[in-house]
Each structure stands twice: as structure tokens, then as C-alpha cells.
């Protein structure tokens, strides 16, 4: 009985809080599902900033509501369905792990429109949107290779999904473009949001000798550990300079606001169509936080690379690139198509880790 109670308790431990603005009849209701807390200082905060910009831009025409701290899995489906039932016209589900749940709910509610961030499954009423984070990671890799004295960086990863693997590969390719022998240690936290665990992962990597830290998890805890240990680090999703004023080199900053405004306007005009958006630095959906705590020549290099990526002159995934097992992936001069990137399930050479399958 006791154990039963505990397991019941654990399954009921799924918590969410809902906030909704006062409802009005002629307003378009736009809803968001967040995987973390809207004040996480990272990924979810960036989405919530986008939501606030949407409210500001469209004023009385829209009403937004959101559910935060929704775990990926069966609970997500319930949360999304609750949104769809509550009169939302457009639901943004903002984490990769919501993909199958979004597809399921979208097929049940053909009149409601859905947009899923970073996924690859679409339907007539389900669009996807994504940002070319890997462009920023390539720049980070170059900076890391310049700034590291030990030639090895640490990477705190969340889940082995294509988006994360793509980021790791882009980082190491950027680093190798500066220092061909650069190495990367990867630790999978198997969570998007757990400050303690992210800090533990950061400590483990630093104890094993990395002197640059980068993360693909959502809180500022790794940045804080890096600051405490006196090494440099990169922020993720939001500018994390407050957590490490003397630590952050730059951060990939997600700026979803313009996209949300564009899509909701399309919904209001009746021109909304299901599509797969994948923009990057040049479109402004992804920006780099100021290049700080680095010498001027490194900063100049980073800025030059950023400009080249924006102009299309440089594609991070340009051959020759070998896979980790030594086989050739891209021939010299060959640029990767989007397809292989979106389904990426292998490491390129130089990553000191075995990819979890």
C-alpha cells in the first residue's frame, strides 16, 4: 500500500499552472505550451518574451495564454488538448518532445491550428518552426578554440535528438576550423531543466579538465559554475550575462517575437498555411549576444564569421567532413542539405563521446 501511494504520488507530481488573460469575444486566442518555467533565464524565457512581444504588437486583437512546466510525454498531450478545447485558435508547442503529442491533438482538432517548435512532422493544420541554432554554435566553436588553452571544451547536452547533435557537430567543426586537434567532451544531462543536475554536469566536466563550457540545457546554473571556477562559457537561448558578467563569451539568443507576430497576423488575415520555417542569423530569429570577455582579435574573427554566415558565404556544414567512424560524410566543398541535418544521428570526427542511440 505504501509503495502504491508513493508511485501514485510520483505520477501525480506533474504540476502545471495556468495563466490566462481576461477573455473577450472578438479576440483571437493564441496559446503556448512551455516545457520549463517562463523565468528559466533560457529557452522558455525566450519563447515567453516572444509571446509578450506578440501581445504588445497586436494589442486588443489577441489574447494569449500559456501553460508552463509541462513535461514531455503523455502529460503534454493532455495539456495541449486542454488548450485546444479552451478555444485557442493557434497553439504553439515549444519543445521538441511535444512533437508526437502535438500531431495527435492536431488530428483530433482540425479547426485549431498548431505550430510545433524544432520538430519535423507537419499536417494541414500543423506547421513547424525552427531556428538555425547551429550557425551560432559554429561561431562559438571558433571562439572556444581560440580561447581554450587546453584544447578541450565541455558540452552539457540534454537529449540525443537531431537538433542537439547538430549543435554539437557544428560546434566542433567551428573549433576545428581554428584548431584541427580541438577536442570536445559531452555530458548528457537527460533533462532540459534541472539547475542542480546541470551544475553537477558542469562541475564534472571542469574537474576533468575542460576550460570552456557550453550548454544545450535551459538554466543559468552551468554559467554560474563556470564563473565560480574561473573558466569561460557560452550562454544558451537567452543572454546569460547576468549569471556570468566575467564569464560569458557570447550567447545564442533566440528571438521568436517577430515570427509569432507574423504568424498570428497570417491567422487573422486568413492566410495561415502549414509550412516548415527554418531561419537563421540572417533573418534575425537568432542573434548573438555581445562578444565579451575576449581579446579584440577573437572578437573580430567572430564578427567576421557571423557576417559570412549571414551573407551565405559560409555554411557551417561544408565538406570535407568525416563522420566519427572515419567514413566520409561531405566531400570537399559540398554543403549539407537541410534534410540530413534535421535527421542528424551521428557525430563528426573529433567528438570525445559515443552518441547515445
Amino acid at each position: 500500500m505504501k509503495k502504491l501511494l508513493i508511485s501514485f504520488a510520483a505520477s501525480a507530481a506533474v504540476l502545471f499552472s495556468m495563466t490566462a488573460a481576461a477573455s473577450a469575444a472578438d479576440k483571437h486566442k493564441i496559446c503556448f505550451i512551455y516545457v520549463g518555467s517562463k523565468t528559466d533565464g533560457g529557452w522558455t524565457q525566450a519563447h515567453d518574451l516572444g509571446r509578450q512581444q506578440l501581445e504588445k504588437a497586436l494589442g486588443d486583437k489577441v489574447e494569449t495564454s500559456y501553460l508552463e512546466n509541462i513535461p514531455e510525454g503523455p502529460d503534454a498531450e493532455r495539456a495541449i488538448e486542454r488548450m485546444a478545447r479552451s478555444g485557442c485558435e493557434l497553439v504553439f508547442t515549444t519543445s521538441f518532445g511535444f512533437m508526437d503529442a502535438t500531431v495527435k491533438v492536431a488530428s483530433k482538432f482540425p479547426k485549431v491550428k498548431f505550430e510545433h517548435a524544432t520538430g519535423y512532422k507537419t499536417a494541414p493544420n500543423l506547421a513547424t518552426y525552427n531556428s538555425r541554432f547551429y550557425e551560432g554554435r559554429y561561431i562559438q566553436g571558433q571562439i572556444a578554440a581560440k580561447m581554450s588553452t587546453k584544447g578541450v571544451a565541455g558540452y552539457i547536452a540534454s537529449f540525443p535528438i537531431p537538433e542537439v547533435v547538430m549543435g554539437i557537430n557544428s560546434f566542433i567543426l567551428g573549433a576545428q576550423s581554428v584548431n584541427p586537434d580541438f577536442k570536445l567532451k559531452v555530458v548528457w544531462a537527460n533533462t532540459w531543466f534541472d539547475p542542480g543536475k546541470e551544475a553537477d554536469a558542469a562541475k564534472a566536466l571542469i574537474d576533468q579538465g575542460v576550460d570552456i563550457l557550453t550548454q544545450h540545457t535551459d538554466t543559468t546554473a552551468p554559467m554560474q559554475v563556470a564563473a565560480e571556477r574561473g573558466i569561460k562559457a557560452f550562454g544558451q537561448a537567452s543572454d546569460m550575462i547576468a549569471a556570468g558578467p566575467k564569464t560569458q563569451l557570447t550567447a545564442i539568443v533566440d528571438t521568436w517575437g517577430a515570427y509569432y507576430i507574423k504568424r498570428v497576423n497570417a491567422l487573422i488575415d486568413g492566410t495561415w498555411k502549414s509550412e516548415g520555417m527554418w531561419d537563421g542569423l540572417k533573418d534575425g530569429i537568432l542573434t548573438m549576444a555581445p562578444y565579451t570577455n575576449m581579446p579584440d582579435d577573437v572578437k573580430a574573427m567572430a564578427e567576421a564569421t557571423e557576417a559570412k554566415i549571414k551573407s551565405g558565404e559560409l555554411h557551417p556544414f561544408t565538406g570535407p567532413v568525416k563522420k566519427q567512424d572515419g567514413t566520409e560524410w561531405l566531400k570537399a566543398g559540398e554543403k549539407s542539405e537541410d534534410g540530413p541535418l534535421l535527421g542528424m544521428n551521428f557525430y563528426v570526427a573529433g567528438v570525445d563521446d559515443k552518441l547515445p542511440q
Binding site: I6, T191, A204, D207, A221
Partner: protein, 305 residues
């Protein structure tokens, strides 16, 4: 030295689990099942951070964490002991309430740089090679955690008051017949549990990751609850279980950083599996387990007069 660095990280990871599990152990030994550990812990975390940010002293923060944890548990006590509400449902509600209220209270503290609880070096002992930095160059909350294990063990099994508390947990009707104030003792036990959970929360926001992030307990309260059961309500086993869990958690991160090539999903599940297996093995004596299990756990008590 990497071994020392690893051990230090393990201590930081295990301390909040040990403290909150000890508090819950005392509560459950008095026959009350409070599933609100996660909620009380997160309330402790936010209060400790806020009090530290406002006063500038992390020690005020520690006290605030303890006090708020205890006060928050009083709400549970009032509902389940005085109003005789269902303990399971009330505990769950306490967790949900705690996560919500802490998010609201903490909103203005998000992103603020935290102040870390200072290290206290114990003279002479701190100079012992290897062990010194691990055990005697620690912070207040670590020392408290060890004192709590020793103190709770002594209290439960060596003191008269502890005997009464266990009597209340085993058979509230008999204890009542003997003239023991069942409800009063249970209130105290619940508050002790809340104070410990609050202290564990303070450790999270003042030492583990000196910052406030909504939901930052990330399930540690539930792990503490499970630890109590698998440790069959024995303080030293709670200590062993907490440290084992911490050790495997940190060990698997290091194994990954070394690139051992074991799937990370398996490694991430390992702390849970290893802790359950080991604690079940050391608690395998069925008769002893039955003796240790508070027989009145989770049952409401209404004095018949």
C-alpha cells in the same frame, strides 16, 4: 585532485536529499505521511534566497528557509490533524501549492546573482590531508546534516520522547490510552519535517546553485520520500541511501565526460536503480522491516471522547 573534487560534488548533491528525507522520516515515524516534501523544499529555497538577497546575509537565509518550511508544514498539519483531511491528497496539494506560491513570490528574484553560504573551516581538523577539505572545510548546512542524522537517531531510539513518538506512529490508539498527546506530538513531527525540507531547500538556493529558479527542486522532494521508504525508516540508512544516490548521479556524469561509451539514458537511470536495489538489500530482513514500519502511517486519528 579529481577524487576529492568528485567527492565534494557528491556531498553537495546528497546533502539536500539526506536532510529532507530525515525530516520526513521523523514525520512518518509519528504516523503522518506528508507527500508535500517537494512543496516545502521549494518554499524553503525561495525564502532562503529572498531573505539573503534582502538582508545580504545567507545565515538569515538559512533561518528563513527553516522557519518558512516549518510554517508551511503547519498548513498541512492543520488540515490533516485538526480537520482530519486525507493525508495523501493534502500532501499532494501542498506540493502543488508550494510550487505555485514559490514561483509567484520569487518572480522578482529570478536572474539575480546569489550569495553563497560561506565555508566554515574547523581548526586543526581542516588541515588533515584529503579528509580535511572534504569533511571539515564545509558549510553550515553540511555540518547540520551530519548532526541531524546523529541527533535523529539518538532521539528516536535512545530518548524517552522518541519512544513516545514511535508509539504514536505505531498505534495512536494505545498511545492515546497511555495519555500521550497524539495530536500535539504529530504537529511537532510535521513541523520538524517541514523545517528540514525548508533547510534542504535553503541548501539548493544558497550552496548547490546559488540562484533562484522556479521549480528548482526538480523532483528532489520525491526522491527524499522514496529514500525514507527504501531505508525502512532508519536514519543511518537514509544517510547511506542519500550518499549512494548522489555518488551514482555524479559518477555517471564523470563516466560520460570520460567517454566510456555506455548509453547515457542507462547511466541516468542508474542512480534510481542502484539506490533501490542497495536499500532493499540492506532492509531485506522482513521481520525487521515490519518492526520499523510505523503501523499507523497515514491513518487519521480522532480521539474517542
Amino acid at each position: 585532485m579529481i577524487i576529492e573534487a568528485i567527492l565534494l560534488t557528491i556531498i553537495t548533491a546528497a546533502t539536500p536529499l539526506v536532510i529532507s528525507a530525515l525530516g520526513e522520516l521523523v514525520t512518518e515515524r509519528a504516523g503522518v505521511l506528508n507527500l508535500g516534501v517537494e512543496g516545502m523544499m521549494v518554499m524553503g529555497a525561495v525564502s532562503a534566497f529572498a531573505a539573503t538577497a534582502i538582508t545580504g546575509s545567507p545565515y538569515v537565509g538559512v533561518v528563513a528557509g527553516i522557519v518558512v518550511g516549518a510554517l508551511f508544514s503547519l498548513l498541512f498539519g492543520f488540515l490533516t490533524l485538526t480537520l482530519v483531511a486525507n493525508q495523501v491528497a493534502t500532501g499532494l496539494a501542498l506540493t502543488i501549492l508550494g510550487l505555485g506560491v514559490s514561483g509567484m513570490l520569487g518572480e522578482s528574484f529570478v536572474g539575480q546573482p546569489g550569495i553563497k553560504l560561506p565555508q566554515i573551516n574547523i581548526p586543526l581538523l581542516a588541515d588533515i590531508p584529503f579528509l580535511g577539505p572534504l569533511l571539515f572545510k564545509q558549510d553550515l548546512i553540511f555540518y547540520l546534516s551530519i548532526a541531524l542524522v546523529i541527533g535523529v537517531n539518538w532521539f528516536l531510539f535512545k530518548s524517552r520522547a522518541g519512544l513516545k513518538l514511535r508509539a504514536v506512529g505505531d498505534s495512536h490508539a494505545s498511545a492515546h490510552a497511555l495519555g500521550i498527546g497524539v495530536i500535539r506530538l504529530r504537529y511537532l513531527a510535521v513541523m520538524f519535517g517541514g523545517a528540514c525540507a525548508g533547510l534542504a531547500g535553503a541548501q539548493l538556493s544558497l550552496i548547490y546553485t546559488p540562484q533562484w529558479t522556479e521549480n528548482m527542486t526538480a523532483g528532489r522532494g520525491w526522491i527524499a520520500l522514496a529514500l525514507v521508504v527504501f531505508a525502512s525508516w532508519r536514519p543511518w540508512r537514509v544517510l547511506a541511501g542519500g550518499y549512494l544516490f548522489g555518488a551514482v548521479t555524479i559518477g555517471q556524469l564523470h563516466a560520460q565526460a570520460l567517454g566510456v561509451g555506455i548509453p547515457s539514458q542507462f547511466l541516468s537511470a542508474l542512480p534510481y536503480a542502484a539506490t533501490v536495489v542497495v536499500l532493499v538489500l540492506i532492509s531485506h530482513n522482513r521481520r525487521m522491516t515490519l518492526i520499523n514500519t510505523p503501523a499507523s502511517l497515514g491513518k487519521a486519528f480522532v480521539p474517542d471522547r
